[in-house]
């Protein structure tokens, strides 16, 4: 049976991981490949890297971390942030990433989803959506949550899949960083609306949050803070899911 995926997310700024300071056992907590390896050994099923480098001038240097990660870890990983063209996608995939995540660029230029899917296959193209409830409607935001597009989130999710997105990451901004649980109502609605894997993001704080999101239908559970700050271990999360009869991958070697 297909396992639900636990996906730690790492923010990278100019080639260095931010927010990883709590890892005491490793020397270079800011090196993407070092942290990635630690997560892989702890049982992460996949990793997501968001390149939050502010200036596009420094981004080619920032993206150099992708190859080092690919050489180091033996699980799939996705890279997002600042990708605006098919040639950007090609560059990152050629460095060894398995998937590309696009967010603002996909809203601004829908054809990027289709072009990427045609060239690399839908399985490579992840559309990430920042969502906030506005007057009772789940609405799409871009530019790191600063711009309200007025687009309905369910409609945009369906459209992205129609264009060729092979997976969706749904970051609900109201729950993000609050550690008060994923938005399970939204997860339920979205998983009924699309036929591609859905990754829930934003709000993981306690073990039951992961269980609730998985029960709501999320195929993958993304979290940053709880893993970076070691509030929870990946093994704890998997044990909790397993107890709730949700299939998870455990290393059997």
């Amino acid at each position: 049976m297909l396992a639900r995926r636990i996906i730690p997310c790492l923010d990278v700024d100019a080639g260095r991981v931010v927010k990883g300071q709590r890892f005491q056992a490793i020397k270079d907590v800011a090196d993407p490949a070092t942290l990635a390896k630690r997560y892989a050994l702890e049982g992460a099923d996949e990793l997501v890297f968001y390149d939050i480098t502010a200036s596009s001038d420094t981004r080619p240097i920032g993206h150099a971390f992708v190859k080092a990660v690919a050489q180091t870890i033996n699980i799939p990983f996705c890279v997002g942030g600042g990708i605006t063209s098919v040639s950007d996608m090609a560059f990152i995939l050629n460095q060894g990433a398995d998937k590309i995540s696009i967010n603002t660029a996909a809203v601004q230029n829908e054809s990027l989803i289709r072009e990427g899917a045609l060239k690399f296959g839908s399985q490579c193209i992840v559309v990430s959506i920042d969502i906030k409830k506005v007057d009772g409607t789940y609405t799409v935001f871009t530019h790191g949550g600063r711009t309200n597009t007025q687009m309905d989130a369910i409609q945009w999710a369906k459209r992205a899949v129609e264009l060729g997105a092979g997976e969706l990451v749904l970051n609900t901004m109201d729950t993000d960083g609050v550690q008060d649980g994923y938005d399970t109502e939204f997860i339920q609605r979205i998983t009924k609306s699309v036929n591609v894997p859905v990754i829930a993001s934003g709000g993981a704080g306690r073990l039951e949050h992961f269980v609730d999101a998985a029960k709501a239908g999320a195929d993958g559970l993304l979290a940053a803070s709880v893993f970076h700050f070691q509030t929870l271990s990946i093994a704890d999360v998997k044990d909790a899911l397993e107890k709730a009869h949700i299939p998870v991958r455990k290393e059997s070697l």
Binding site: I75, F120, G121, E167, P197, L253
Partner: protein
């Protein structure tokens, strides 16, 4: 011992090569017919669609070389689309002839809630094989595909379940196929690649050259 990965322009295979290196297997990535013809162990990778991949092999004159390799009793490992090409035909955008090294056809997965079949799924062991040393039923490996091989039980080393029973590892004498990505399948994938390397070393070589 160097494993020769066939480079025939089907998607990015840099990470496959990195995976072999992590498992301690030396590789060469090449389209050079001379190197391919003299290889002890051939690796056939591939991402994408069946027909363009076969066309690309044909265009490079590699189909005959692969057949000659196998008929000399030398090992061949097909991975992902490379595994699917080992079969007689593929039903993706029409019906196309495959390499015909393992009996069966490659068909679309139907009755699945979500496609592609993407993520970690568990193996059920169907028969013993040297590449399975230390691998147990219930071990998870990483899949990304929408087509599967419909084939006879006698070639199925391990299967997984995704609405249909999907052959995950297949064999026919010296030909092995893996539907999933061993290079992305954590320790289990690394073990499978190590086992393949050991099988090649022990069964097919004497002091690094092909056993006659």
């Amino acid at each position: 011992m160097t494993h020769v990965i066939i480079d025939y322009d089907v998607g990015n295979i840099a990470s496959l090569q990195m995976g072999f290196e992590r498992a301690g297997l030396n590789t060469t990535l090449t389209a050079d017919p001379n190197i391919i013809a003299n290889a002890t162990s051939l690796i056939l990778p591939g991402v994408g669609a069946f027909q363009p991949a076969m066309a690309s092999l044909k265009e490079r004159g590699l189909i005959e070389l692969i057949h000659a390799h196998v008929s000399q009793g030398k090992p061949l490992l097909g991975i992902c689309l490379g595994m699917q090409l080992l079969f007689e035909e593929g039903h993706e955008f029409g019906v196309h002839k495959g390499l015909g090294l393992i009996p069966g056809s490659v068909l679309p997965i139907r009755d699945a809630e979500k496609l592609p079949h993407m993520g970690w799924n568990d193996l059920s062991l169907m028969q013993d094989h040297p590449v399975m040393a230390g691998i147990k039923t219930g071990s998870y490996v990483y899949f990304v595909h929408s087509f599967y091989a419909s084939t006879t039980p006698s070639v199925q080393v391990a299967t997984t379940d995704y609405g249909v029973t999907i052959p995950a590892i297949v064999q026919n004498n010296t030909v092995i196929g893996m539907q999933f990505h061993p290079e992305k399948s954590a320790k289990v994938g690394e073990q499978l690649l190590k086992n393949y390397g050991r099988w090649v070393d022990e069964r097919f070589t004497v002091d690094g050259s092909l056993q006659s």
